[in-house]
């Protein structure tokens, strides 16, 4: 029970307090804004502090709770891995706590039950914290399902629309199946080890085929939750439906909890690793990354688009994890550590910028009540701060220097480029191809966010209510500002971050990155100075210096005036908002190039004395290929089975007689 663990306990207590206090909102709807959400933010802060403490001190704290099964009292354990993810959870929750109060004002006049919103938000955070802290399978599963269940209630929060209900149902169903798979995975470990305690599972000696079974189950369960393709289709349905600050939590943090579960299960509990697992993870990761970004490009509902990008980024994280597994399985612990650090780095980056972007989307929603890109435009001049922070988010998620997204992708590339050290030539070719997919993904993401920012924030407003947009309250801006600043910091000072993350691979693989920070805070050299080096601070400084130089150079001599005029546009009539490129138009070339991957319905319906209508519907192939067949199967099976209940008493008696005779026959 060390300081870090006490802080973590404080965080859990605060989260529960937030949940409890929001019950007051039944009577006084202001309670949510004035009490519950601030407590939520404090819980985030405490979690952040606990995580950092655990990472920096590197000492492990354990404690036993008065919960759980009689022969298995629930234990909690705060080690480096848990600490890292606590920090991830904490920082986004803190921002949400800042952002929420202003945001939920909008609901106070609505009919939705704010008590439910606040209560389940608190339980949601509690669940996530406990998942990370749990040290035995039972507490883990309980916390895990609490997390799923409470987030489900949040998805179903605005349940007037049938679509939202459907999304919530699908979400809970997938969460349930995933949870069962994870449970069975733990069951395998428990049946070979001495019970459900994680320490017992670490000690367990699984025969390899059973280890693979456990791995498959865990990969299925956690991957389902994380939204890996091809099981991702529920995610873009569910995440956007929740209130925006909850979407930020779900996309930014909950997916990371799934990543945590996967890392904990595979790298910590299953000590021996097979390279085939790495290949599987790598391939699935590539698939998710590519499909995620391509489908994101096809969306014009801002929040759905962001949700699809979560699929993409989770894919990138799993590419890193796959590399880590490959290297560890082939005995290159050092490279494994490199890949793992890359994955973890991207984990926290994605938490930051995806949280930032969802909060930005929430801000737009808050001031324009609009989610459809095709209606937006020119928001930069109407909400400058949100515009600026959103731009930072776009740059970060497009993996452009000098922001944080670039650092993690750079590290992933570096890890992939060490593939020449692998013995098997096949793997040596496979890995660089994966990195090519990663490159393609990054470029497509950039394209996608040029579309988003260009259509939403630049140009002119495409609808009246967007033209009337107003800046959002200070709290919301502050939250976005916090995350944006962190995006820059993590991009500029990677050596410090890696210094902190290093504790995780040391704990899991027994090997850190010795050279990463060997050349001082200025130089990031993951493997060695000769192999690769990147100095984000210098890049920033030089960029600034050169910019200053060029500005200064142009200030001299020549004419300084800038005249405002109409857009030239090759001399056509001054452009009207309707003449702007739409989001759909922007992504048309890519839609045409990758047409194979989409299920496209396109039609032009001419109308009398009116311009013709152009209909386009791009649906996820996963539905047709995976989801609907299963549903149909169950339906037909049910239709067959109900014949049992034919309604005729004599048939029922016949069943009884038949059963009796058959059993007697079999027995004797």
């Amino acid at each position: 029970m060390n300081a870090a663990l006490i802080l973590a306990a404080l965080a859990v207590a605060l989260a529960l307090a937030s949940a409890a206090s929001s019950l007051l909102a039944v009577r006084r709807r202001r309670a949510l804004r004035l009490l519950a959400l601030p407590l939520f933010g404090l819980a985030g802060l405490a979690a952040l502090a606990a995580g950092l403490a655990a990472l920096l001190t590197g000492e492990v704290g354990t404690a036993t709770l008065p919960l759980g099964l009689p022969w298995l009292p629930s234990r909690v354990r705060l080690d480096a891995l848990a600490g890292f993810f606590l920090a991830v959870i904490g920082v986004v929750s803190l921002a949400v706590g800042l952002y929420g109060p202003a945001y939920v004002r909008g609901f106070e006049r609505a009919r939705e039950s704010l008590a439910a919103l606040g209560g389940f938000s608190g339980l949601f955070l509690t669940g996530m914290l406990l998942v990370v802290l749990a040290d035995d399978a039972f507490l883990f599963m309980v916390a895990w399902e609490v997390m799923s269940l409470s987030s489900y209630f949040l998805v179903a929060f605005q349940h007037e629309h049938a679509a939202n209900r459907r999304a919530a149902f699908l979400y809970l169903l997938m969460a349930h199946i995933g949870g069962l798979a994870i449970l069975l995975g733990y069951g395998v470990l428990a049946s070979f080890g001495g019970g459900f305690g994680f320490d017992a599972m670490r000690a367990a000696s699984c025969p390899p085929e059973w280890a693979s079974v456990a791995f498959a189950l865990a990969f299925l369960g956690f991957g389902m939750k994380a939204g890996l393709a091809p099981l991702h289709a529920w995610l873009p349905e569910a995440h956007p439906v929740a209130p925006s600050h909850i979407s930020a939590l779900m996309s930014g943090v909950m997916l990371k909890v799934a990543v945590y579960g996967f890392v904990r299960f595979v790298l910590d509990l299953l000590h021996q690793v097979h390279w085939q697992w790495g290949v599987a993870v790598l391939v699935i990761g590539c698939l998710s990354a590519l499909l995620g970004v391509l489908y994101a490009l096809m969306q014009h509902d801002l929040k759905r688009l962001l949700a699809y990008h979560s699929v993409e980024n989770i894919g990138i994280i799993f590419i890193g994890l796959g590399l880590a597994l490959l290297f560890v399985a082939t005995g290159h612990a050092l490279l494994g550590a490199l890949a793992l650090v890359a994955a973890l780095y991207h984990t926290i980056n994605h938490a930051l910028f995806k949280g930032l972007l969802f909060l930005g989307a929430g801000a737009i929603l808050h001031s324009t009540h609009e989610r459809d890109l095709e209606q937006m435009g020119g928001l930069l001049r109407r909400m400058p701060w949100t515009g600026l922070f959103f731009l930072v988010g776009c740059i970060s998620i497009s993996a452009l220097p000098p922001f944080n997204g670039f650092v993690s992708e750079w590290l992933t590339f570096q890890a992939a480029l060490q593939a020449w050290q692998l013995e098997s030539g096949v793997l040596r070719t496979l890995v660089p191809i994966a990195s090519a997919v990663l490159a393609l993904t990054g470029a497509l993401a950039a394209a996608c966010f040029v579309k988003v920012y260009g259509v939403a924030f630049l140009g002119q407003a495409r609808s009246r209510h967007v033209r009337r947009a107003r800046p959002v309250p200070l709290g919301m801006r502050a939250a976005q500002g916090l995350l944006a600043a962190l995006c820059l910091v993590l991009g500029v000072l990677p050596t410090w971050v890696i210094g902190a993350i290093n504790a995780v691979p040391r704990q899991l693989l027994g090997a850190g990155l010795p050279h990463a920070t060997a050349h001082g805070w200025l130089w990031l050299t993951p493997v060695s100075a000769q192999t690769a080096s990147y100095s984000a601070p210098l890049v920033v400084v030089l960029l600034a210096a050169m910019a200053g130089l060029s500005v200064w150079g142009l200030r001299r001599g020549a004419v300084r005036r800038i005249r405002r005029c109409d857009a030239w546009d090759c001399g056509f009539a001054p452009p009207s908002p309707r003449m702007q490129y739409t989001a759909t138009a922007f992504s048309q070339p890519i839609r045409r190039v990758f047409a194979l991957l989409f299920h496209i319905e396109e039609s032009v319906s001419p109308r009398q004395n009116a311009p013709a209508r152009y209909h386009l519907r791009v649906t996820d192939r996963a539905w047709g290929l995976l989801y609907t067949p299963v549903a149909r199967l169950v339906e037909s099976a049910a239709r067959r089975v109900v014949r049992l209940q034919s309604g005729s008493l004599r048939v029922y008696l016949g069943w009884t007689l038949a059963t009796l005779l058959v059993l007697l026959w079999t027995v004797s």
Partner: protein, 490 residues
């Protein structure tokens, strides 16, 4: 012993009094008081069992296994009585039933409680049979209480199917007695379970396996095992709601209890034979089939109470499977599941009764927007279904966790089946639940005067069991586990 008599005789006396009592207002209270007395007796009994380990005599035998079921039965009986007092008065006010009907209801309610408790506590297989048959007789009139054609039909089917099943069970009992005659000296003791259990090894295996088939089909009909389950949804959906609650929460448990007791005997007698786990395999087979089939049934429901009765079949199947699986872990899980399932399921039925009352119909398609109309009912239905679907922090999850891991340990290749079954059942429940609780309420739908106390108590208990199983209860279940499987878990 006194405690036992108190527990048993209170309902008898209550039944007689209530049969004669004319005032309706009073009847509800008397019913409540009698149940309370019986519960007090049960608690006392449990206490003495906890002290001495076993209470026996007068042909009764109360050990760790059945005493917790006794307490559970008395408890659910009490809470349901609390719920039924205002509810049945509302029913009567609606003119669904007559004064006489109400008298029958109250008298039979207590008679039913008596048969349940008798079946649980008796040591004599014959008396067990008599009591279970008595339970059918006591409830069959309640099922047809409303006298609608559907109600009468349901009651008739219930009566015939269970009667036939029970008759077969009697044949099994005769065979058991026959097998016993060669090992148990005193013919009068030839049906006392404890005597048989002591010398189970000597029982003729061939006879016992035949006997077990009859008993399984017989009592299995009452448990609601597919394909003898057809009476169950009808009876649950057409009877008055309190009846559905106790049927689903108690009767099925008692029948399963009988099956388990007999399985213990058969296992003892088959110990030396080529296939010693015959009974276990039979139970597993039936359990699995019921589990899967019921899960599929859930998808095509239109009546809210029917739906939840199918979910009862599903859970009964799961428990049967677990008992068949054997082993301390699975048995412990199954015992726990009995407990949490009957608590949760009776709470759900009570809530469903309120929901049907709000919407004025039991048809799922016409129950809408409960959360909007009456948040208390809507949320408790939502939470109750979440609990029964096996979501933590509710107790059902704990037991399912144990069952699944036990299966993983002993019969791993069955786990995919269980997994898909759970998923299918879950989908079946929630696809119907969503439109009922969520969405906007239809015009003119008004909240009703609902008594949320029993629901709150039940769900609270289930929640508690999910978070932490209190030590004494764990110890208790563990002793029961030891009785059944012969080995400790703790």
């Amino acid at each position: 012993m006194t405690a036992l008599l108190l527990t048993l005789l209170a309902p008898v006396a209550g039944a007689i009094v209530l049969a004669l009592l004319r005032s309706l207002a009073l009847a509800g209270w008397v019913n409540l008081a009698v149940s309370a007395t019986s519960l007090a007796g049960a608690a006392w009994l449990a206490w003495s069992v906890a002290l001495t380990g076993k209470v026996a005599g007068l042909g009764f035998r109360v050990d760790a296994f059945n005493v917790y079921l006794v307490v559970l039965t008395a408890f659910v009986g009490l809470t349901t009585a609390i719920f039924s007092r205002p509810y049945m008065r509302h029913v009567c006010a609606q003119g669904l039933t007559t004064e006489a009907g109400m008298r029958v209801y109250h008298a039979m309610y207590q008679a039913f409680m008596f048969t349940m408790l008798l079946a649980l506590t008796t040591d004599n297989l014959g008396v067990l049979w008599v009591a279970v048959e008595g339970a059918t007789l006591a409830t069959v009139l309640l099922v047809s209480l409303y006298r609608t054609p559907e109600a009468v039909e349901a009651a008739w089917k219930y009566f015939i199917l269970c009667g036939v099943g029970i008759a077969l069970a009697l044949f099994g009992t005769v065979l058991t007695y026959f097998a016993a005659q060669h090992v148990v000296a005193d013919p009068a003791a030839g049906l006392t379970w404890s005597a048989l259990y002591r010398q189970a090894g000597g029982l003729e295996p061939v006879v016992m396996s035949l006997a077990f088939v009859f008993l399984l089909v017989g009592y299995g009909t009452k448990v609601g095992l597919v394909p003898m389950h057809q009476w169950l949804p009808d009876a649950h959906s057409e009877g008055p709601t309190p009846m559905s609650a106790v049927l689903s929460g108690l009767l099925l448990n008692v029948a399963l209890y009988a099956v388990v007791r007999l399985k213990m005997l058969v296992d003892g007698s088959l110990a030396g034979t080529p296939n010693p786990h015959l009974a276990g395999y039979l139970l597993m087979g039936f359990g699995l089939i019921s589990f899967l089939v019921a899960g599929l049934f859930l998808h095509r429901q239109r009546d809210i109470k029917r739906m939840f009765s199918y979910s009862s079949i599903e859970h009964m199947g799961l428990m049967t499977f677990a008992f068949g699986l054997g082993g301390p872990l699975a048995t412990f899980g199954a015992l726990l599941h009995m407990l949490v399932h009957s608590l949760t399921k009776s709470a759900i039925f009570i809530t469903a009764g309120h929901a049907a009352h709000i919407a004025g119909t039991q048809s799922i398609d016409r129950i809408r927007g409960l959360i909007r109309t009456q948040p208390a009912v809507g949320w408790s239905l939502l939470l109750g279904v979440a609990a029964i679907a096996g979501f933590p922090p509710f107790g059902v999850f704990t037991s399912e966790f144990l069952l699944l891991t036990a299966t993983m340990k002993t019969q791993p290749w069955l786990t995919p089946v269980l997994l898909s079954g759970l998923a299918v059942a879950f989908a079946g429940l929630f696809r119907h639940l969503h439109p009922m609780v969520y969405g906007s309420a239809p015009e003119g739908q008004a909240p009703v005067q609902a008594n949320m106390v029993p629901i709150a108590v039940h769900l609270g208990l289930v929640l508690w069991l999910g978070l932490a199983i209190p030590g004494y209860l764990a110890h208790w279940l563990d002793r029961a586990t030891e009785l059944i499987t012969g080995s400790h878990l703790l």
